[in-house]
């Protein structure tokens, strides 16, 4: 212990006497460890940390699947969902969770507000194990009607629209022009499915409840304790087969499948994160090779010191230990720098992310990130320090000053070659990534996307009958076509290339036979901005799934 302290003290002194070397090495290690810390924080947040619910490993998604048509995951219909719920045995609870846009009026603001709302089965909050911070969740039967009469608002909406009023529970508001009562406020930070601002019961018209072929409903469930995932999958396959037999008309060829919720949510991120992890690992390796090279140069210059120490009775192990202590001091300084840079790097990742991160992903370095950083620091120490230490300490005496001859130079050349090789590997990876990105951007979506602008709007059916909606659309199109810079305008039920199948079509319904999609204008951003004077313009990240200049426009009368 005493001699370890001596080693540390001597290492600090040696490094202080070589500040150029020390700073270069610390900067290189710091950058390498910083990049790794930042990316690991993301990997940890997405892939390793469980969902923020009680017993999250039992949460699953239940899908419709059609193997013959190559469909692994699809949403379901209300009748299928209800049969699933009734006839399966593996789940403590199952809930439908759809999202849609709704207009909320009431609260402090005079203007109605477009909200992303989750329409959920009444057992939703119980299933997740989430208790509202104020008021209650939904009671059984509240999802039985045709229109939602109760609403649970998110903490964020409570603060922004209701000024954080503790008396909000029991307040009357208007949802899509119908009266509803605020029954609860979600806990702070809770927004699940991602991005929702409120929850209402999953209500439906009697006709919709009969439409077995109308697939729109995502389903989550909680597996019973003691039931394996495989057992639940077998259970749902059985139920799916039974429904296909009973209702061959829409269900022929369809079965049902169960997948862990966490895995499903991170599916799209996994590959990207692992590629990033590989890239930053390469960066760290390059940094290690750099520092190892510097250490070798230093070792050659210190050959006499090491010989002397050896003559005075330092064993090889002792010399290696001393040299590694120096490396560890360097790495610890680099690690501290890296952890700091990692902090900043996380913010950079957040800023670089093309879509807003899901709310359940908490990008913050915690104890496990710190542990990772510490472990990586030790590994890094060995990575850059071990070879030079072994090299410098090998029989330093026998040949005295002759040590710094060819072998050292050969080893240095080896490290340079390794650095160049690793740098090339990194460049090649980056190049491949860029290339696939370029391909993706260049892929034609099947229509001429340049200059096309998409708008989505929702006309509450309480005020807009089918005829009035068609009338509205015709007039809106006429006015649009009259705008300078607009080449053509058309209405369509579903915008091409929607973000995902689970994003509900809240596009407006219009003419019985939709015209070909060609909402096209050569308009530049400038003229689009002009248009936005009359049309409230909202860019919605979720809708921008193509490289086309797609935008969602919400417009309220």
């Amino acid at each position: 212990m005493d001699s370890l302290l001596t080693d540390v003290r001597q290492a600090l002194r040696a490094l202080r006497r070589a500040p150029g070397f020390a700073l270069t090495a610390i900067a290189a290690i710091g950058l390498g460890l910083g990049a790794n810390t930042a990316v690991f924080t993301a990997v940890h947040a997405f892939l390793l940390r469980a969902l923020p619910f009680p017993e999250p490993e039992r949460l699953v998604f239940v899908y419709q699947a059609n193997p013959a048509r190559g469909i692994e995951r699809d949403v379901t219909s209300i009748p299928n969902f209800e049969d699933w719920r009734r006839e399966s045995h593996s789940f403590t609870a199952m809930a439908g969770v759809d999202t849609r846009r709704m207009a909320l009026a009431g609260g402090r603001e005079p203007e109605p507000q477009a909200l992303t709302v989750a329409t959920v089965s009444a057992n939703y909050f119980d299933l997740l194990g989430v208790a509202p911070a104020l008021g209650r969740g939904f009671s059984a039967g509240e999802d039985a009607g045709e229109y939602p009469e109760t609403i649970v608002i998110s903490d964020a909406l409570w603060r922004s629209r209701f000024g954080g009023d503790p008396g909000v529970v029991g307040r009357s508001v208007r949802l899509d022009e119908r009266p509803a009562t605020v029954v609860g406020v979600g806990p702070p930070g809770f927004a699940w499915p991602d991005g929702v601002e409120a929850w209402v019961p999953l209500t439906a018209s009697p006709q919709d409840r009969e439409q077995r072929g109308a697939l729109f409903l995502p389903v989550i469930a909680r597996i019973k304790p003691g039931v394996t995932l495989e057992a639940s999958q077998a259970d749902m396959r059985r139920v799916g087969a039974e429904l296909a037999r009973r209702y061959p008309r829409p269900n022929e060829g369809w079965t049902a499948d169960v997948q862990p919720a966490h895995g499903e949510l991170v599916r799209d991120y996994r590959a990207a994160l692992l590629v990033l992890m590989g890239a930053v690992a390469l960066i760290l390796l390059i940094a290690c090779a750099n520092v190892a090279n510097l250490l070798l140069v230093r070792a050659a210059a210190r050959a006499r010191e090491l010989s002397t120490r050896s003559a005075l009775g330092a064993s090889r192990l002792r010399l290696v230990r001393q040299l590694l202590t120096e490396s560890l001091v360097l790495a610890l300084a680099g690690g501290a720098l890296g952890f700091g840079l990692g902090f900043g790097g996380i913010e950079a990742l957040r800023a670089l992310s093309p879509v807003p991160l899901p709310a359940w992903v908490e990008l913050r370095p915690d104890a496990s990130v710190l542990a990772f950083c510490a472990a990586l620091t030790v590994l890094t120490t060995l990575g850059f320090g071990l070879f030079p230490a072994l090299f410098a300490s090998r029989a330093p005496l026998a040949s005295g000053a002759r040590i710094a001859g060819d072998p050292a130079r050969r080893a240095q050349r080896g490290f340079v070659v390794a650095q160049v090789g690793l740098a090339f590997a990194l460049l090649a990876c980056a190049g491949l990534l860029l290339r696939s990105f370029e391909r993706l951007s260049a892929t034609s979506p099947g229509f001429e996307a340049t200059g096309a602008v998409a708008a989505r709007m929702r006309l509450p059916d309480t005020r807009y009958t089918r005829e009035r909606r068609i009338q509205y659309a015709d007039e809106a199109l006429a006015r649009l076509r009259a705008l300078p810079g607009v080449e053509a305008a058309a209405a369509v039920q579903t915008v091409p290339l929607p973000a995902s199948t689970t994003t509900p079509g809240y596009a407006w319904r219009t003419s019985p036979s939709p015209p070909p999609t060609s909402a096209r204008s050569p308009a530049s951003t400038r003229s689009r901005r002009a248009t936005s004077r009359r049309w409230a313009f909202r860019c919605c990240g979720a809708a921008a799934s193509t490289s086309a200049t797609a935008a969602t426009i919400a417009w309220w009368p």
Partner: protein, 235 residues
């Protein structure tokens, strides 16, 4: 100091260096006995193998053939860590170019062999103080080597060599980098240590310094050519 208990016995010691197809016979069949308390000078022309012999005596290098018995202990077959241990406890080195470690103070330089021995700090401190006192450098304990003159540095090196109370001090041209005045002073110091009971083996090619020794071993081309006893005279 009986005949049976020679401190160092070399028999048929041979050292061959192999470098890029060139074989250098640095030592060829050396026989040598050195008694406890003896002061032996090794002299001979440059390249005759003096430093190589000293390196082998100091377990810095191993012989190609032959036996080396140190303190009744055949040491040519020891492993690396055992050799490091013997260097630390039995041998004190004094180099031509002092070889003090520039990052360490005078005190820390002297302390180093004791640190490697795992000795407690308080005992280290006492021993270092004593050793520095002996060489007259106690007042410079906190200095860095670069702040000392060559003569002072070599005195510190002597203190470092004797602090561990080794069986033998090995000095390779200890005055080679010193002017004659400082050289004399270091020689006087070694002489004094010898009178205090130390065993000393010193390489020198300066006959003026060899006269302090009990005997001088003359080497030529890797062999001992003549061994003449020189009467021990007080200088």
């Amino acid at each position: 100091m009986s005949e049976q208990h020679a401190l160092i016995t070399l028999e048929g010691l041979t050292k061959v260096f192999y470098t890029d197809e060139v074989e250098t016979h640095a030592l060829s069949g050396i026989h040598l006995r050195i008694e406890k308390g003896e002061y032996v000078a090794i002299s001979g022309p440059s390249g005759c193998g003096k430093s190589t012999l000293l390196s082998i005596l100091g377990l810095l290098d191993s012989p190609t053939a032959g036996t080396y018995i140190l303190n009744s202990n055949p040491v040519q077959s020891l492993d690396l860590s055992q050799r490091a241990r013997i260097r630390n406890r039995e041998i004190g080195f004094i180099f031509q170019s002092f070889n003090l470690i520039g990052d360490l103070t005078v005190f820390e330089n002297v302390e180093l062999p004791l640190t490697y021995r795992g000795m407690a700090a308080s005992e280290r401190k006492a021993r270092c103080g004593e050793a520095l006192e002996k060489v007259g450098m106690a007042h410079r304990a906190k200095h860095l080597p670069s702040q000392l003159s060559g003569g002072q540095q070599q005195r510190v090196a002597v203190a470092r060599a004797l602090v561990g109370k080794p069986s033998v001090l090995l000095a390779d041209e200890p005055t080679g980098n010193l002017d004659s005045k400082n050289g004399e002073a270091v020689m006087d110091l070694l002489h004094e240590l010898h009178r205090g009971g130390a065993t000393i083996v010193m390489v020198t090619h300066d006959p003026r310094f060899a006269r302090h020794a009990d005997r001088t071993i003359h080497m030529f081309d890797g062999r001992v050519v003549d061994e003449s006893e020189i009467a021990s005279l007080s200088a």
